[in-house]
């Protein structure tokens, strides 16, 4: 897919209009995962708007997002940055062989008390 196709897909599957953003930074202020990302929620929105998708797709922030919806709840313009991050990650993971997590990884992290919903969630988020 070329850049404009990717942008179109991201826009369609997220339903987000990045132009609504007024660059206030409240999403990044609220984000508990800020320090684990190289591009933060407010940058996500402005980079999608300016078309810098490649860098986003290869950043680690798309895996450290907690999907906690703090940015969605607190954004005064109802931009929903979390949807954007998930859309960029989805576009990346949907490519062949790009799964971020493989089933082989699981046994080493498993412990007796780990609820299976953690594994299911991780698989849903990190694989196609």
């Amino acid at each position: 897919m070329n850049n404009s196709e990717i942008l179109e897909t991201v826009g369609r599957i997220s339903g987000v209009n990045p132009r609504k953003c007024m660059k206030c930074g409240k999403c990044s202020g609220a984000c508990p995962a800020y320090d684990e990302m190289e591009y933060h929620p407010h940058q996500f929105v402005s980079m999608v708007e300016s078309g810098r998708i490649e860098e986003l797709m290869h950043s680690k922030g798309i895996y450290t997002c907690l999907s906690c919806f703090a940015c969605v709840e607190r954004c005064p313009r109802m931009v929903e940055p979390a949807r954007l991050i998930e859309a960029v990650r989805a576009v990346y993971l949907r490519q062949q062989g790009m799964d971020h997590m493989k089933p082989e990884h699981i046994p080493e992290i498993l412990d007796e008390d780990l609820p299976q919903q953690a594994v299911t969630s991780a698989f849903r988020k990190y694989r196609r």
Partner: protein
């Protein structure tokens, strides 16, 4: 009062206490949770992408069953509640998703978001009433200072989940008062515990949990209650010198005299 009930996969295995105490307490309070005859894992996370249909199907199947039984659907696990309620919202409001899901499922009667999804806490507050709960308490948890841990998924996004204020909620605090204990309000009660990122690396979850525990302790909480098995796991296993954590149904059952909380 009878409700259709979706337990969720974790409540049948690692999170049994949440489920069993919930059912016993329900009976003591005069309502019954009738488990759906056939259900699958809800998927554990809500698929935000608008073109994902397969990942929404199990939630729709559960919703359809509840509709066909003519009952409202109750969930106990915060994560299941989040997924099912939001998918229900999609079926009501997003014509594209509704259309595609119905064409795939080929149900006798297409599903259009008719079912009402309730969290167990909503049943306690709106159908039973916390005053009624208080009356039925035989072993009030007097003198215990309990902090409510809402976690991030129970109340957000408030436009879709909307049964309490997302930044200043009171449903769990009212619940704590109803069972005779003293609620402790602390600001980190609605911030994420780390969730599924514990799979990638514990350190990240440990950081988040530490912030939550420190804040709860500093504000005087002696124990925490939660409604999510994953939060429970993170708060117990990824905290150093952490406070004891219980499922809210465990304490409810204890107060009603129908169960014992884990130590």
């Amino acid at each position: 009062m009878q409700f259709a009930y979706f337990p969720g996969c974790t409540l049948k295995t690692k999170g049994k206490a949440l489920d069993e105490c919930g059912r016993k307490a329900a009976l003591a309070l005069g309502f019954e949770l009738c488990e759906l005859p056939e259900w699958q894992c809800c998927g554990a996370v809500y698929p935000m992408a608008k073109d994902e249909i397969a990942t929404r199907l199990s939630a729709v199947r559960a919703l359809t069953e509840a509709r066909d039984e003519g009952r409202e659907l109750v969930t106990l696990c915060s994560a299941c509640h989040h997924v099912i309620k939001r998918v229900n919202g999609d079926m009501k409001n997003d014509a594209d998703i509704r259309d595609k899901v119905n064409r795939y499922l080929q149900l006798e009667k297409p599903y259009e978001g008719e079912t009402n999804v309730l969290h167990y806490l909503e049943v306690l507050r709106d159908r039973v009433g916390f005053d009624e709960v208080k009356k039925k308490v035989v072993k009030p948890l007097t003198g215990r200072k309990i902090g409510a841990y809402y976690g991030c998924l129970l109340l957000r996004p408030s436009r879709e989940l909307g049964f309490d204020d997302p930044e200043n909620p009171r449903i769990l605090e009212d619940f704590i008062r109803a069972i005779g204990a003293e609620p402790v309000v602390y600001a980190m009660r609605n911030e994420c515990c780390g969730g599924y990122t514990v799979i990638e690396g514990r350190d990240y979850a440990k950081k988040n949990v530490a912030k939550i525990m420190d804040n709860a302790k500093a504000c005087g909480a002696e124990a925490l209650i939660t409604a999510c098995p994953l939060c429970m796991y993170n708060l117990r296993e990824n905290s150093e010198n952490g406070l004891p954590v219980h499922y809210f149904t465990e304490l409810l059952a204890e107060a009603l005299g129908v169960g014992e909380a884990e130590k």
